[in-house]
């Protein structure tokens, strides 16, 4: 197939997967299936898929509200419920959509209320309050998978046992709520698909090392990661990532770069400002700046450092539940980003801090200080918010982005002169 056809098919498939997900949430033929609410960081969707649950991720509702430009209105409803200014804007958007006047009716789909809320507490304590609020509003049972914050680089034996034990304790609860018996073989097949999707996903991320990188691991990465949240453990996800790899090979052959001419290679740390995503993206595109590697796409699915596999399903699930990026400690994050900067030969790092999200922004200033002053990698610090456009001050951010790249450009020209002279 010609390159253009593959580009269209990949874009069309990612849109279709999202539309089909929301259609099936409300489809009459699935109305007998029960609904479980989960969270993305350390979310083990596959486990609940084997009980034929319909899976809803409140964070994804908030993201799609922002992309559909209705997050301000949803936040207004959330604040009217009493959630005040200071709090996470994902929570306000989602509760505004579900409990506020829209009652789950969003332009991108009708979100069904939960029959069970499972709080996979992995790196974000707001999940607990969010899950409790949803369970209270919709009067349904709430369970928790408590994942200890990784004291070392990998879960210790005692941490692993605790997480694995809690997943096992969920089996009778899921059987009762879903009315489906637990089928270990089906779980193993689903996990094989997950493992395959993860290996393809890791392969996709490696393309960032190429010069020019055919793939923007932040502005495109956050779109490509969608199936890892809602379709993980299905053949659709595997197919999708196979297609994406084919797409990357085509782009490589045509030495295509998502920004036209690649001038600056960057590592992006932190989540994007969803409501002003395009405005934010063009600020970097103008400078031919590409995110050859990023960290946020590692939140929805732990893919590095997994020690177990599908042949020990419960251990593998415990690993997936514990090793999301939100749960990494500060030093592990810094080492990981430093390795990314080296392996992907970058010119700088961009740390985008968001007001609402504590697991992302706490420690980012120290991270910037380390890279800019000690590791000698130019690092730009920006701050706005994930879902509330009122916190995105485009003039402040545009001024900092321009200053960062003008300084980088000058330094590169000077280095070229020194080499010439």
């Amino acid at each position: 197939m010609k390159a253009a056809q593959i580009e269209d098919r990949a874009r069309m498939m990612s849109r279709l997967l999202v539309e089909r997900y929301y259609r099936e949430l409300d489809a009459p033929e699935f109305s007998d299936r029960k609904v479980v609410y989960l969270f993305t960081s350390g979310g083990i969707g596959e486990f609940f898929r084997t009980f034929n649950f319909r899976i809803v991720l409140p964070e994804i509702n908030a993201v799609h509200c922002a992309r559909a430009k209705i997050s301000r209105e949803m936040i207004r409803y959330g604040e009217a419920l009493g959630h005040i200014n200071e709090m996470c804007t994902y929570v306000k958007s989602d509760l505004g959509l579900m409990v506020g006047p829209p009652k789950g009716n969003a332009p991108f789909g009708k979100i069904p209320p939960p029959d069970l809320v499972v709080i996979n507490h992995c790196g974000c304590s707001t999940y607990i309050k969010w899950g409790e609020a949803l369970a209270r509003e919709f009067n349904c049972p709430v369970q928790i998978i408590d994942v200890p914050f990784l004291s070392e680089d990998r879960p210790t034996e005692s941490e692993h046992k605790y997480v694995k034990g809690q997943i096992e304790e969920l089996i009778p609860v899921c059987e009762e709520v879903s009315g489906t018996r637990f089928d270990p073989d089906r779980l193993q097949d689903v996990l094989k698909l997950t493992e395959e999707a993860i290996s393809l996903w890791l392969k996709l991320l490696q393309y960032g090392k190429k010069r020019p990188s055919p793939f923007d691991s932040y502005f495109e990465g956050v779109v490509y990661m969608a199936p890892m949240t809602i379709w993980r453990g299905t053949s659709e996800a595997v197919e999708y990532y196979e297609l994406l790899i084919e797409q990357m090979e085509q782009r490589l052959a045509a030495s295509y770069s998502p920004v036209g001419e690649e001038r600056f290679r960057l590592v992006f740390e932190g989540s994007p400002p969803w409501p002003t995503f395009t405005r934010f993206k063009t600020m970097f595109e103008r400078w031919g700046a590409v995110a050859v590697a990023s960290t946020y796409i590692r939140v929805v699915c732990a893919c590095e450092g997994l020690t177990w596999g599908p042949d020990n399903p419960m251990d593998y699930l415990a690993d997936l539940a514990a090793q999301s990026f939100y749960n990494w400690n500060h030093l592990k994050k810094i080492n990981f980003i430093e390795n990314l900067a080296k392996d992907y030969e970058v010119d700088g790092i961009v740390a985008h801090s968001v007001r609402s999200c504590r697991p992302i922004s706490i420690g980012q200033l120290d991270l910037r200080k380390y890279f800019a002053t000690e590791a000698g990698i130019p690092t730009l610090f920006l701050d706005s918010d994930i879902a509330d456009p009122r916190f995105f001050s485009s003039s402040q951010i545009r001024k900092r982005v321009n200053t960062f790249f003008e300084a980088l450009d000058k330094r590169r020209k000077r280095a070229a002169e020194v080499k010439k002279a």
């Binding site: 207004r76 604040e79 009217a80 009493g82 005040i84 200014n85 200071e86 509330d388 456009p389 009122r390 916190f391 995105f392 001050s393 485009s394 003039s395 402040q396």
Partner: protein, 268 residues
């Protein structure tokens, strides 16, 4: 029977003197300018002169506003929330929801059927200084404060301004000026952002029945009123004397304390 209300705001000090059927007889106005006690004294004398009365003939005085404790003399003190509510209720008896945008503090108030405060909410820390921000906006755009409001009504392409805090909004306004945006569009954007912030305060003390009224100096800003009506989806009562509403309310409460004393037999 004359009663007097003194409203010492951080920006300006207003004094009114009411007669027994509560119509405004005399009025005084001064810029507070960092000396609240002097401003109150001068404005009080100005009101007295306007009514050609000596101090002795005022039966009761109530002071309100941030500088109320500095007024001195045997003057009772009440908060701005209570006074603005009493004033607005007197002017528009069907009011159940009151918005008061002051220079530093803004308040949203829900009144019960007797015009008394049932629920109120101040701006949170980030939403302070809305009144002062509009003044600075007028300075930046080199447009007199009174005309700011009308201009917003002619906007065809309002420019988005982050309404979370006035400092942030200011940097964005300067950015719009740089990109050659028309003042009308910028003011409209600012009005919508501030209206959105005030509306979210009001929604937390909301009641569906009754009318909405706007009190305080900003009520004269037609652009703000229009933006608020749009965001709230309901008409808003504006009193021609809204800047003096706090002082009028204070004088009405002074009257209330006299009536209460008469009823309970203890002479003033």
């Amino acid at each position: 029977m004359y009663t007097c209300g003194i409203d010492v705001g951080s920006r300006s000090t207003k004094v009114v003197i009411l007669d027994e059927d509560s119509t405004v007889r005399g009025r005084g106005w001064r810029l507070t300018g960092g000396k609240p006690a002097d401003a109150a004294h001068e404005a009080y004398n100005e009101a007295l002169a306007a009514v050609r009365l000596s101090q002795g003939s005022i039966d009761a005085t109530v002071a309100t506003g941030y500088g109320r404790r500095l007024v001195g003399g045997d003057v009772e003190q009440y908060t701005a929330v209570t006074c603005h509510s009493a004033g607005i209720y007197h002017a528009f008896p069907n009011t159940r929801k009151l918005i008061d945008i002051g220079a530093v503090r803004s308040a949203a108030v829900k009144l019960n059927d007797h015009g008394q405060v049932h629920r109120f909410r101040f701006n949170d820390r980030c939403g302070a200084g809305l009144g002062r921000f509009l003044e600075r906006l007028a300075e930046t755009l080199e447009i007199p404060l009174e005309e700011l409001g009308q201009l917003a009504l002619f906007s065809r392409d309002p420019q988005e301004v982050p309404g979370i805090c006035s400092v942030l909004a200011e940097t964005e306004v300067l950015n719009h000026i740089t990109r050659g945006k028309k003042p009308a569009d910028i003011i409209r954007g600012v009005s919508e952002a501030l209206a959105e912030r005030v509306a979210s305060m009001l929604r937390q003390v909301w009641t569906d029945d009754g009318e909405i009224s706007l009190s305080g100096g900003t009520a004269k800003n037609a652009g703000m009123v229009h933006a608020l009506e749009e965001v709230l989806g309901k008409p808003i009562n504006i009193h021609h004397d809204s800047e003096f509403m706090g002082a009028i309310g204070a004088a009405l409460i002074a009257r209330e304390t006299i009536d209460k004393k008469l009823k309970t037999g203890t002479s003033a």
